[in-house]
Amino acid sequence: MPDAIRNSERLPIHASGDVVAVRQAVRACAVQLGFGLVDQTKIVTAASELARNTLVHGGGGWMELEIVEQPGRKGLRLTFEDRGRGIPDVNLALKDGYSTSNGLGLGLGGARRLCNEFEISSAPGEGTRVTITRWNL
């Protein structure tokens, strides 16, 4: 059964100022959900990584922010989506130390470690969608 979704918000990611806005929105939401300080920092940092990827590698896109619910706990679910070139080899991209030719690491592996749930779908020409969830445990 899918998790219940409470509120959702969509933020555009088209300029570096938007990455800052994403950090602030995620922080505000995490605080509101009562996340501990380390948990807040982790989800905000993961969001920052993924938002930057969306901007720099995906040519811009958006983030969907949702408060999700399971019986007895609430969480924050973020979906980053772009219509960029897509990632040719997702498994390779998830390995630490992976970076494209211009030296910018995709930071996906790191971002994954910071979240409780991580899903990615991407293919050349089809853009990329990354969904992360952090629960308030």
Binding site: A4, E69, Q70, P71, G72, L137
Partner: protein, 288 residues
């Protein structure tokens, strides 16, 4: 189909009576175990029934996970939480919701009169709905108990991660037991907080009490060392037994520039030296 259900109107017209009868049934069913004042019981019932009535009027009598039922879920979660804390069994908590069936069916029977076909359909809809809601309390109840256990485990972990100040600027962290990723988080948080509070520049991590050191444990240790380093504190690992030294080499774990010593005493001596101190013996006169 929700469009033809008369449950919303029956609830609206008979809310007070249904509430009174439900409350009576709850009181009769309570076994005396667990304590909940009657006023609180009445208030929770009222809140639930009111939220239930509004949700039912929203039209969707099927999907209890939708936004329409959010307020009801909140009330049920609160009920489950308080009951769990007060020692009620999960069956007793779910039964609270199930016991609403009788008063609701009575009101529906009165509304449908001789239309038995309509009444049967309606009772089926109501049964399914209340069953789903009752099961939600069960899930929430279990989650609350799990949370209590998790919190107690966390407290135990924190208690078993004492950080001791050996000297000005020198902390010791004796690790006892396995070092899994959950424990490592607690260890890192405790150690870093202490570094801030005491202004320590050296932390001695003693692993005498860690039974096995495999690749994962080594990674957790190195993470802790890296985190302390980012806050300006160097780490020394002590209590390295011969077998552990062998394991580390065989696993190919790179300790890098992290110093390690066999005993806490050696580590302490090193820490003193690094902070510009040494222990010296008093002269015969000095000892008086």
């Amino acid at each position: 189909m929700s469009g033809s259900s008369r449950i919303p109107e029956v609830l609206r017209d008979n809310e007070a009576e249904i509430l009174a009868e439900w409350h009576k049934l709850q009181l009769a069913a309570s076994t005396g175990r667990g304590t909940l004042r009657e006023a609180d019981l009445r208030e929770q019932s009222r809140a639930f029934l009111s939220a239930f009535r509004e949700a039912v009027q929203g039209g969707d009598l099927q999907d209890t996970r939708s936004e329409n039922w959010a307020a009801v879920r909140d009330v049920l979660a609160e009920v489950s939480r308080t009951r769990a804390r007060q020692g009620f069994t999960p069956v007793e908590t779910a039964a609270i919701v199930f016991s609403l069936k009788q008063p609701l069916f009575d009101a529906l029977a009165a509304a449908y009169g001789s239309d038995t076909a309509g009444l049967v359909k309606e009772i089926w809809t109501a049964t399914q709905l209340l069953d789903r809601l009752g099961l939600l309390t069960f899930e929430a109840y279990q989650k609350t108990r799990e949370d209590i256990i998790a919190r107690q485990q966390q407290e135990m972990m924190e208690l078993s991660t004492p950080v001791v100040q050996l000297w000005e600027g020198i902390l010791a962290l004796p690790l006892i037991g396995t070092l899994d990723s959950a424990r490592t988080q607690v260890v890192m948080e405790t150690l870093l907080q202490q570094i801030v509070q005491t202004g320590a520049s050296i932390a001695i991590i003693d692993i005498t009490g860690v039974p096995t050191v495999d690749t994962l444990v080594a990674q957790h240790l190195l993470k802790t060392v890296a985190a302390a380093r980012l806050m300006g504190a160097d780490c020394v690992i002590s209590g390295v037994r011969p077998q552990i030294a062998q394991t580390i080499v065989h696993l190919g774990v790179e300790l890098g520039d992290v110093a390690s010593k066999a005993t806490l005493a050696d580590a302490f001596r090193l820490a003193l030296k690094r902070t510009g101190r040494a222990v010296s013996r008093l002269s015969a006169e000095g000892r008086g």
